[in-house]
């Protein structure tokens, strides 16, 4: 139990620290790296409470795809060294708006926590049967049997979005000369060299 607590506090501290660094770091690329660290530690926390599938999904989807995509965007847009004009320099209008939004979110959180803390009926109503099968196994058992229709339809939706992305953005450039290895290798002097008599003052038309 002690080891469990130690690990819990270890990951939690890292998660809180890195999420703070995400918003305070001056370098945007560093921010994204801290975001990745945050995702990883949250994923570890999920694994610790027994939701190993969720933890792995966070690792694969958020770290593997989303955060790396962020990183690419940040690097391509060249906003790495953004000036932190929020706190330094001229008066900004972001802070009051931000304060209002954060107070609202805090209130919402209080409501949520309050509702959960002082309403014991929710906790007692949970009738989940715990079994020895792991989460991933259980998901696999229903994903390909009872919920196969939803699963396949999600696949069709992804296929459609792929077709749409290609249809709306793919452009065939005209007039591009591509290298053709086979044609290059199979050339021989007789097919590629042409002898011409050059008339004076007229010249020859080379290539068109």
């Amino acid at each position: 139990m002690l080891v469990h607590s130690i690990f819990f506090y270890f990951f939690s501290v890292i998660a809180i620290f890195s999420s703070l660094m995400v918003i305070t770091s001056r370098n945007t690329v560093n921010s994204v790296f801290f975001l990745i660290l945050d995702f990883i530690s949250v994923g570890c926390l999920f694994i610790m409470v027994g939701a190993e599938f969720l933890g792995m999904i966070i690792l694969i989807v958020y770290v593997g795809a989303v955060a790396v995509l962020f990183l690419f965007v940040v690097m391509m847009l060249n906003v790495a060294e953004q000036k932190q004009s929020w706190f330094i320099g001229k008066k900004s209008t972001h802070i009051p708006t931000g304060l209002i939004v954060s107070v609202l979110i805090l209130l919402e959180l209080l409501v949520v926590v309050g509702g959960w803390k002082y309403k014991d009926s929710i906790m007692s109503s949970s009738t989940l049967e715990l079994s020895n099968i792991s989460n991933t196994h259980q998901l696999g058992l229903v994903m390909y049997t009872d919920y196969i229709l939803y699963f396949q339809m999600a696949g069709v939706i992804l296929l459609l979005s792929m077709i749409g992305a290609i249809l709306l953005t793919f452009r065939q450039r005209k007039g591009v000369k591509k290298q053709s290895y086979f044609n290059q290798i199979s050339r021989n002097p007789s097919s590629s060299i042409e002898l011409q008599e050059v008339e004076t003052n007229k010249g020859v038309k080379i290539d068109d």
Binding site: L149, M153, L160, I163, G164
Partner: protein, 471 residues
């Protein structure tokens, strides 16, 4: 479970054939024509499969997918409408150089989405179907990607529709939270007036659905998208998703929300009245036919919703009849647009129609019939559509709704008649070139024939629709 899989046969056939034609399109160059004809054949085959399947209610996959007469009817309506919309617009597509082989494939995918929408008996399946359909429509709206207005309409539709999908999903999650199930039947048991949270969720679901059928006050996208998208896409937008949207709306009212009639009735009445009024008033000043048809479709959705607002089966039936006749009228109206070509360009301005009767009397008389029917003038089918709806409304003693509906009918008759006046009594401005689009001519002919002769055999449609709600 495997032997029950034939319940899903139309969907499985459609999916597999979409994948096959996609592969054909990828590997064969310049294959628009081939894919287009194959897609029409697929639609015909799917109609045959559905006609051959039984109409008995059967459910599969934890009761999330239903096959019954209701879903079969709407599937066939969707397929026939898509078949006409696709084939009438083929010449237009090629003329406007948007003939990419993905075009019919995306249409087929949206049909697949609508199939799942009308067959769903579960929030998750419904939402997945809706997303499949909406995603196809975003792509279709911006398919003419080098045209600024087409891209604009795609972006506009995407942003607004994604927002409404978000609201809908929020409603669905609340519905799940407060009733403890995603299944329509189980939700219906739990959804009673005391369950305030679930009633709250119902409002969000209604907002999302109203957006999808473009009912006021969630109609803002309709005129811009209709005007900006290529006409072939606009005609699809105006006809097919409306059918699926209304089917799902009726399904939601009939199954999960059946116990809270008094809660949603007022909302639907408001949406219906607002759509009827806006559809009638805003269309008066329009100069573009596509924009005018957009406002007219908003108005027509209002009338169809008036039938839903009654909350009784006869009301739902009247609104199903209404939407079926609306499909016929709109296919005819858009087919006429495909025949208005001048100097290689399709004209969309109402002023261009002036004096059409002298140059092309046949086209002019078809326009006359379709517009009279849209206005609801007897003995055309449009009149009977409105007649059934208002009969159902008056039977429920909702006189205010009926009176407002009739008044807006009169107002909207003004702008339909204005077009007829321009066609018949104004001096001719331009003479249109002859268009070689025999399918469009045929479909104008068919829809006019149906609109004129409907009053002789109204029982055919009535009997079919009457059978939908017998379980």
């Amino acid at each position: 479970m495997l032997n029950n899989l034939n319940i899903l046969l139309p969907e499985i056939f459609l999916t597999l054939s979409i994948f096959s034609v996609l592969m054909i399109g990828v590997f064969i160059k310049e294959s628009f024509n081939l894919i287009f004809n194959l897609s029409s054949a697929i639609i015909l085959f799917t109609i045959a499969i559905i006609l051959n399947s039984s109409n008995e209610t059967e459910k599969i996959f934890l009761d999330s997918f239903t096959r019954d007469s209701f879903s079969n009817f709407f599937k066939i309506l969707i397929l026939i409408a898509s078949l006409f919309v696709l084939n009438t617009s083929k010449v237009f597509i090629i003329d406007n150089k948007i003939g990419k082989f993905e075009y019919p494939i995306i249409i087929l995918l949206s049909i697949l989405g609508m199939f799942f929408m009308v067959s769903s008996n579960d929030i998750i399946l419904f939402y997945l179907g809706l997303e499949l359909q909406s995603l196809s429509l975003y792509i279709l709206a911006s398919i003419d990607r080098d045209n600024l207005r087409s891209s604009e309409s795609g972006i506009k539709y995407f942003v607004l529709s994604a927002l409404s999908s978000g609201l809908l999903l929020y409603g669905c999650s609340l519905l799940y939270g407060f009733t403890g199930s995603t299944n329509f039947d189980l939700i219906a048991d739990q959804l009673i007036q005391d369950n305030t949270g679930a009633v709250f969720a119902m409002v969000f679901v209604l907002v999302g659905l109203a957006f999808k059928v473009s009912a006021v006050p969630f109609h803002m996208w309709t005129p811009d998208v209709y005007e900006g998208a290529p006409t072939s896409i606009t005609s699809y937008f105006a006809v097919v998703p409306k059918v699926a949207g209304l089917a799902v709306l009726i399904k939601f009212m009939f199954i999960p929300f059946s116990n809270i009639l008094s809660e949603w009735q007022l909302i639907i009445i408001f949406i219906s009245i607002a759509s009827m009024i806006l559809g009638a008033v805003a269309a008066i000043i329009q100069k573009n036919i596509k924009r005018l048809l957009a406002y007219s479709s908003i108005g027509h959705v209002g009338y169809a919703l008036a039938g839903v607002a009654t909350g009784v089966i006869s009301g739902y039936e009247s609104s199903i009849i209404y939407i079926s006749i609306y499909v016929v009228m709109n296919i005819g109206a858009f087919s006429c647009l495909y025949l208005l070509k001048k100097d290689g360009e399709y004209r969309e301005n109402i002023a261009d129609l002036s004096g059409l009767s002298k140059k092309q009397p046949l086209l002019a008389i078809s326009f006359l019939i379709i517009l009279f029917s849209l206005a609801g003038i007897p003995p055309l089918a449009g009149f009977f559509a409105k007649f059934y709806v208002f009969t159902a409304v008056i039977e429920q003693k909702m006189y205010a709704l009926a009176i407002i509906g009739l008044l807006t009918t009169v107002i909207s008759a003004f702008y339909y008649l204005r077009i007829i006046k321009i066609i018949y009594f104004d001096d001719s401005a331009i003479s249109f070139d002859p268009v070689k689009n025999s399918v469009a001519k045929l479909s104008v002919l068919i829809s006019c024939a149906i609109l004129i002769t409907f009053f002789l055999f109204p029982a055919i449609l009535n009997n079919v629709v009457d059978a939908l709600f017998i379980n």
